[in-house]
Symmetry: C2
Subunit: 462 residues, 2 copies
């Protein structure tokens, strides 16, 4: 039995214990976007530090203006590249809580409707389950050989779901410590449940939250209705105006920097055989909201969006209340591609909104550019990417295609910008993992074969 | 000293005790729109029954499918008409609770910024303070003369803020008991703080609540954004489409039955000297939302509206969440005038909304026509109205003009329809009483001179 086979066997034998460790991490309610969960975020960081130290890493939790960073180093072998593995221990809020089948922070193993075993709970997939695939792969290597086949550093952050406000400053200050030959990130999906993938492009992100205020107090809709401005009408007008009848965003110059797909790229994505009807059918939809002439994958991977993530005002309780509210609130996020500039788009968006407000109404924003993330295009010709692709093919017995991703993982652009380091985005999540939604899950197969995949990738990189 | 003067003097001497009784009623949290307050509504009804019985009324709380009706009778004098006084003991919800300066159900007397004494708390004006002006006037009559100058029946309902769902059935069943020569309603405003008024027209009401569902679950805005329909975008489009750039409602045939004002009516309202700038300035606004060419009073009293009272969906908490929600919710109310037909408008509205939904989205409504109320035009030539006008002029030393009201008091149309009885709408609220809003108040002067006004009106009607 080769060394790699021994390590794989060790990982398989220890899968129950690996799962128990994942459950322990998932029980920590590390919601980074809500200040009420600050101590839970610290607890998750401390838990990870302790695990890494047990594995022999020189690990510690580092203070930031927000939630702590976990940094660890293991000298490993002098052969091969020095890798920096990145993951995040924070999770999304859990509301609407009433739609969860089980409490979100009481993880468990259930059988899905397809008969496959699933790990359920908040963070199972995004990103606690994914980041532990790498940690458990390291554990198996250590158990069998006493060391890692390459030099490994680890960075776990706790603010990924909040737009990583502390990350840039932390990397700037700790450049020398964090710089490696390549970054590995496990926060993306496979192409499908049987086919792993390397993600070669990511959309960027720009967020905006605002409140419009009209009257100085809530008003009776009978005594004021018709004469007093209703800010919910203004907000609806603004949101409606943001898209034309073809689903295109109407903010001036919004599409500046959006590349047209090459015919070669279109053909490559065509070959992946994306089943748009099944994709939409899985979420109860049949009519795509995409621009005319854009394929499903082009829409998800290469077109920008302007999305309302939340909107509220007036009376939202039981029954009815005949009120003209004084305020209307909205939260927006934009997914960006190519060379779109979040700074320019924020400015154009605010102009767009404010042009639609009467003089006697005011607007207040509560976010700034700290949460912006640029789009990413990975260099697909680099040798380390090929080696990882080969390792994935060995484990899964099939090609690992290069895919795009509609999500945003600002870390990859930041690694390039601040540390001049390329990133390999290799994840084992599935698109139906319901991340950010009630009943988030991670396939047991993703977890187990994810660990095995990292065992092989580390071997191949060496 | 005439009898009337003795009764007025008695009312003034007892004002402290009258106020204590009002506070006791206001402490009962009788929010009719929220099922959680059902027992509080019953408690308010029982409190009123007890007060009426103490005054010698044959009074009782009557069960309905919703909250109880309070009915009381006092034979009074055989002279003059038999009057039915109507008021409502239920109140609006109190949110946003954080904007109240004091707890809404802990009433008190404070000094306003203008130096006038104000009764504060939910229901102070709408309608607990107003309805007690009549009860306390009866109390003064009884104390001085041992009887009332006319035959008086009383009807207090507990579902006015919920659209009076039980009222029609109750009146149908109890026609003979409730039928009188004229109805008196104290639920309207004065023209200003020194000028009483009789309200000669009311807008009607039609309400709609709905939920749009797109995807079967909340979605990650990165993995689905662009391809999956966002119901908040759909909802915003629907709301935005409801008005054109002139503020006119665009629902087909919406203006059917809306009368054009006569030149005489326009001139009469012109003479009232409505100060639109001051009216809007008082609520922090300067730009009217009215249709071009419509005066302020015409807009508020004689033009229909389509208003969003509440709207919500997606993530409304702290920070941000990059989600495409599965659902979007909205609550609407329409104020109707003239011969507008709520049934036809509901149908046209639903068509309007559903035409704007893709085939894979669904909509559910949670209200029906039970809350509809027709507009009201009072016969201003009736002799009893003139007598009441004279009584008001005596008390306030000025003319009591005939005004319109933008609010909806379905009871007046119902009295005409079911009991073939005209209604006099005489109230002592002010437009800045913040009814339905935080910090609702009722001027102490409104309460005291309201009681005195009813003392005089009862005398004049006899």
């Amino acid at each position: 039995m080769s060394i790699v086979e021994q390590v794989l066997s060790q990982a398989d034998q220890q899968i129950e214990q690996s799962l128990e460790r994942l459950f322990a991490l998932m029980r920590i309610e590390s919601i980074s976007t809500d200040p009420a969960y600050k101590s839970e975020c610290s607890a998750a960081a401390d838990w990870l530090v302790s695990e890494l130290q047990d594995l022999g890493f020189d690990a510690s939790a580092r203070k930031t203006p927000g939630h702590p960073m976990v940094v660890g180093h293991d000298h490993g072998s002098d052969n091969g590249p020095h890798v920096l593995f990145y993951g995040h221990y924070d999770v999304q809020p859990v509301d609407p809580i009433e739609l969860w089948d089980r409490p979100p922070f009481e993880p468990g193993l259930i059988e899905g409707s397809d008969g496959r075993k699933q790990i359920t709970g908040r963070g199972s997939s995004d990103d606690k389950g994914q980041l532990l695939t790498f940690v458990e792969a390291c554990r198996a290597w250590k158990a069998v050989t006493g060391s890692l086949p390459v030099k490994v550093s680890i960075l776990f952050e706790g603010e990924e779901e909040s737009g990583s406000p502390s990350l840039d400053g932390f990397m700037q200050v700790n450049k020398d410590e964090l710089k490696a030959d390549i970054a590995l990130v496990c926060d993306t999906t496979m192409w499908n449940a049987d086919t792993p993938a390397i993600t070669a492009s990511l959309r960027g992100m720009m967020k905006e939250n605002f409140t419009i205020e009209a009257a100085s107090r809530d008003l009776h809709s009978g005594f004021y209705g018709g004469l007093a401005r209703n800010p919910l009408h203004l907000l609806s007008r603004i949101v409606a105006d943001l898209h034309d009848e073809n689903g295109r965003v109407t903010i001036p110059d919004f599409y500046d920097g959006v590349p047209e797909l090459t015919e070669a790229q279109k053909a490559e994505w065509q070959r992946l055989g994306f089943d748009q009807d099944a994709f939409l059918g899985d979420i109860g939809l049949s009519a795509p909201a995409s621009e005319p002439g854009c394929s499903g994958l082009e829409t998800l991977w290469a077109r920008p969006t302007c999305e309302v993530n939340g909107l509220w005002g007036g009376y939202n309780g039981e029954g009815s209340k005949t009120v003209i509210p004084s305020r209307a609130n909205a939260k927006f996020s934009f997914r960006l591609v190519g060379d779109q500039d979040p700074v320019a788009i924020r400015k154009a968006f605010r102009n767009f909104v404010e042009e639609r407000l009467p003089d006697d109404c005011t607007i207040a924003y509560d976010l700034d550019d700290e949460s912006d993330g640029l789009p990413l295009i990975v260099d697909t010709d680099q040798p380390l990417l090929k080696k990882a692709q080969e390792a994935l093919a060995e484990e899964w017995n099939c090609e690992a295609p290069l895919i795009g991703c509609g999500g945003s993982i600002p870390i990859a652009t930041e690694f390039k910008r601040v540390l001049d380091m390329d990133t390999l985005l290799i994840g084992f999540a599935l698109e139906n993992d319901r991340i950010h939604s009630p009943n988030e899950k991670y396939e047991l197969k993703s977890f187990q074969k994810g660990i095995r995949s990292w065992v092989r990738i580390l071997a191949n990189l060496a």
